[in-house]
């Protein structure tokens, strides 16, 4: 928008300048036009004068030729022998014939005379008897010819005959054969004839053609037609001057033309001394040029008009444009004003505008935006009031001084955060004050009470944090992504033997033992990638050379963008002592394990021995028994007849003993099995198991009728084969000890007691003596003689063993003669 950038646009100058410009254009155009006209006039004049000169020359040549022709014709006649003869004879009659011939054949020659040597006329044509015999020797023409006897053309003179008009004389001498002049042939040529000749040459009619003779008398003039008197040409004297200046043109101010300038061109006819003049009136030149002048002036005028029109149109256009611009600018201004008003009103910062009064002694509020109203809690009736009136605390705040300073110096100032307080309200505020070009003072301010509070809280938090880190028992360290230590607490000082001042700003590497430094730095490097240590063991080198084992966990601190790591904080736990203890424990454990292994090996060896023992028992001990029994029987069978009853009785005892030993071996094997075998727990239906055993017992002694009550659904966890041995033993016992009872009764069941299940086998047999109850479950302990009830005394020991190995208890209750109850629990 160039127009906007240059408001003093050419077209928008004031009217008078425009007029001046038009005048200037007029002057310039006039000057140009004048110059053109002048130039044209000069050239035209020059041209016309040149034409005039050439016309004069031409005319002089024509005249000269004409006269020469006449002279040569007349000379030709004068040389005619017949005429010569007639002249000699003065025979007028015969001579007349020649004259008539001359006049008739040449229209330019009308009046011819012949004189004798003395100038007496003796022959004329046309005949004019009145002049015959008259002597014309007084005539100039005669004088001139008779001087040298050469053809002669005379000056103008008045004829004395006929019309007595102006004429010139052309005369040639007539010579005899001897060369003696015997007469003169003379022609009186009327200037009218010459005038007719000149008129034939179509020359510029505006010019005046004049021919003068040697004396300057007018022979012919297109202007000065004068037939009866001889006039002198008034400008003839100018010729000499012009000739001297070698010019063929000169200028005169002709009085007959009211002093107007006249150009006179001339051509002298050298041989006869005549001069041809061509006169030109200056006015005629002007007149001839008038059309051109009119043209040029018209063009100039049109040009001028065009310029004026152009100027007017352009100005109008410009004005319109300017008006439009103005409108647009106004609109823009309005938009801008609305925008700024909106901005002003919707700014989060408060803005107040003040107008200084009394030379800056006071400031009047001229505007306060919405945010400002909200911050200051002033909503109405503030415009036009003094700032000190509306905000009494402004002077105490120090802001008033700032207003004055800014108003004077015009330099913007920031007024740092400070607390405003008056009777109404108290808040922290931050001001930026500047001066508008209008001279008004603007204060942009923010309520920073909240920020201030946050800052205080932050400072407090930081303080807590500082104290926390500083006085924490755990060593705490912070390093930046360049591995430079930026924080180092007291506990760390203790740990590393360094003072914080000694390590802050230094690389973290110095804290690690030389030989593990790279490894440790590797861990550190991981943290700058954002990795956090859950728990990692990194040793720390104390300044005294000792190495402490420390467990670390770390946290990464990010910049507000949430991606860039700015620091890593790590907290350690010195586990050097714990580690030492752990290592000792580990060592002890290893030793213990070794010992256990040794014991286990020993145990395994003894178990193996036990196995081979039990194998031997089952295999090797039984074989001899079988032999004893077998051969005892063989002895009885083969040699029974040779033995007396006592011998037979002994053999019977041998056999009984062997059988008893067989049972003993079997029971011992059972006990060994219980000792040796591993317990495999699985759910067992004890009720069903007991039922099976009872069935077997019945089959083994079908003659005995026993009332067996078996409670259903008793489920336990235990080793089936071992528990079967237990139940068999208990059932067998019950069966055995009711042998002598009339109505033997056996019961299996379970009761809940003290939160556990207690199983029992009850019989109404011989009962127990509780005094020996403690011996009941010992191996090889019997409460009854083998005569009363068969048994090895190992069975109950086996039962106790099995129940004990299951983690349960077994006990018995009873009374002699009243039966017995065997209880056991299984966890």
């Amino acid at each position: 928008m160039a127009e906007k950038d240059n408001p003093t646009h050419f077209w928008l100058l004031e009217r008078r300048y425009i007029l001046l410009m038009i005048a200037l254009a007029f002057v310039i155009l006039s000057a140009v036009t004048s110059f053109l006209c002048y130039r044209h006039h000069t050239i035209n004049t020059e041209k016309a004068l040149k034409e005039d000169r050439s016309d004069a020359n031409l005319l002089s040549l024509v005249l000269d030729e004409h006269l020469k022709k006449i002279v040569s014709i007349m000379e030709a006649y004068s040389n005619r022998p017949l005429l010569l003869q007639d002249v000699r004879d003065k025979n007028a009659k015969k001579a007349m014939v020649h004259l008539i011939d001359l006049a008739k054949t040449n229209s330019d020659i009308d009046s011819v005379i012949i004189t004798d040597r003395q100038g007496t006329i003796w022959c004329t044509y046309p005949e004019r008897p009145e002049v015959l015999g008259k002597n014309f020797a007084y005539r100039d023409w005669y004088k001139d010819i008779s001087k040298e006897w050469k053809p002669n053309i005379s000056d103008v003179y008045l004829r004395i005959v006929a019309e007595k008009d102006l004429a010139i004389s052309i005369g040639v001498p007539i010579f005899s054969k001897t060369g003696e002049a015997i007469g003169i042939l003379q022609n009186t040529n009327r200037t009218v004839t010459l005038g007719n000749l000149i008129k034939k040459a179509s020359l510029d009619p505006a010019n005046i053609i004049t021919v003068t003779d040697r004396k300057g008398q007018i022979i012919y003039s297109s202007e000065h037609v004068n037939k009866k008197e001889i006039k002198t040409y008034p400008f003839h004297p100018g010729v000499k001057k012009a000739m001297a200046a070698k010019k063929n043109t000169f200028t005169v101010d002709a009085p007959d033309l009211a002093g107007r300038t006249r150009y006179i061109s001339f051509a002298p006819m050298a041989n006869i001394g005549w001069t041809v003049f061509v006169e030109r009136d200056k006015r005629s030149i002007f007149l001839s040029e008038s059309a051109y002048y009119i043209q040029v002036t018209a063009i100039a005028f049109l040009l001028f008009l065009a310029i004026i029109l152009f100027l007017a149109y352009s100005r109008k256009q410009m004005t319109a444009q300017q008006l439009q611009e103005q409108l647009r600018a106004e609109k823009e201004l309005q938009t801008s004003e609305t925008r700024f008003r909106e901005l002003f009103d919707n700014m989060s910062s408060g803005v107040a505008v003040y107008r200084a009064t009394d030379g800056g002694a006071d400031f009047i509020i001229s505007d306060l935006n919405e945010a400002g109203q909200k911050i200051t809690r002033v909503y109405t009736n503030f415009i036009g009031r003094s700032v000190c009136d509306v905000f009494p605390g402004v002077k105490q705040l120090g802001l008033f001084d700032v207003f004055q300073r800014v108003w004077k110096t015009e330099k913007a100032e920031d007024y740092p955060s400070s607390q405003y307080a008056d009777d109404r309200l108290t808040f922290w505020v931050e001001n930026h004050v500047y001066k508008l070009p209008s001279g008004e003072i603007v204060a942009v301010f923010d309520d920073i009470t909240e920020r201030k509070r946050t800052e205080d809280t932050l400072r407090e938090t930081n303080d807590y944090l500082d104290k926390l880190i500083g006085y924490a028992n755990a060593p705490i360290i912070v390093w930046n992504p360049q591995f430079i230590i930026t924080r180092f607490n007291h506990a760390f000082e203790e740990l590393a033997g360094w003072k914080a001042e000694g390590v802050l700003g230094r690389g973290i590497g110095l804290l690690f033992p030389e030989e593990r430094r790279e490894e440790c730095l590797g861990h550190i490097r991981q943290t700058t990638g954002g990795e956090q240590w859950e728990v990692i063991e990194i040793p720390i080198l104390n300044r005294d050379g000792s190495v402490r084992t420390v467990l670390w966990n770390s946290a990464t601190i990010y910049s507000p963008d949430g991606r860039t790591v700015i620091a890593t904080i790590a907290q350690g736990q010195d586990i050097t002592d714990r580690k030492k203890t752990e290592e000792e424990i580990k060592k002890l454990n290893t030793e213990l394990e070794q010992r256990v292994r040794e014991r286990t090996a020993q145990l395994e060896a003894s178990t193996r021995e036990l196995e081979s023992v039990s194998y031997s028992i089952s295999h090797d001990l039984r074989a001899p028994l079988r032999s004893v029994d077998g051969f005892s029987l063989a002895l009885l069978e083969e040699y029974g007849d040779r033995l007396d009853d006592t011998g037979k009785g002994y053999l019977g005892r041998v056999r009984k003993a062997t059988q008893k030993m067989g049972f003993l071996i079997d029971d011992m094997l059972k006990l060994l099995k219980v000792i040796r075998s591993e317990i495999k727990l699985e759910p067992i239906d004890l009720s069903s198991m007991v039922r099976g055993i009872a069935e077997t017992c019945r089959k083994n002694s079908p003659e005995k009728i026993v009332d067996a009550t078996i409670q259903e659904g008793i489920m336990v966890q235990g080793d089936p084969s071992l528990l079967k041995m237990v139940m068999e033993e208990l059932l067998d016992n019950a069966w055995k000890f009711t042998d002598n009872i009339v109505h033997p009764r056996i019961e299996f069941g379970a009761v809940a007691k003290d939160g556990e299940t207690v199983c029992f086998v009850r019989d109404n047999g011989v009962g127990l003596d509780m005094a020996y109850a403690d011996k009941l479950f010992g191996a090889f302990q019997r409460l009854h003689t083998s005569n009363e009830f068969p048994g090895t005394g190992i069975g109950l020991a086996m039962v106790k063993r099995v129940i004990a190995r299951h983690g349960g208890r077994v006990w018995a209750e009873g009374e002699i003669g009243k039966g017995a109850v065997f209880y056991f629990t299984l966890p």
Partner: protein, 149 residues
Amino acid sequence: MDEKIILLVEDNPDDVELTIRAFRKNNIGNKVVVAKDGVEALDYLFGTGVHAGRNVKELPVVILLDLKLPKIDGLEVLKSIRQNELTRLLPVVILTSSAEEKDKTNGYKLGCNSYVRKPVSFDQFAEAIKHLGLYWLIWNEPPPAGSNS
């Protein structure tokens, strides 16, 4: 070849005597070949060692095999019997004092046809022998001859 031989592998001479006596007592008069150890038992079966040259085609109808034997024990013998084409179908009865479950399990695993525990009481022993004899010699049909190969 009608004679049905019983091979008794037993190192205890008392047991050998008692076993044979039990057979006799029960009127089982079949030839009883006794091998005193595992080696001898295998020599007999495969015609090697002390039994070199014996016609190995003459196989016993039943082998009564004790487990605890000198040189090669009973289970090893059983294993060799079962591995040999000639004898792999032979009925083998383990007759032992051992009541060890391990022995029972291994015996059956190796392919014994029966496991009989020697009772201490001779009466019962004699009874057992009687039943064994009757069963294997009379009731049991041996595998067809030549079916071994």
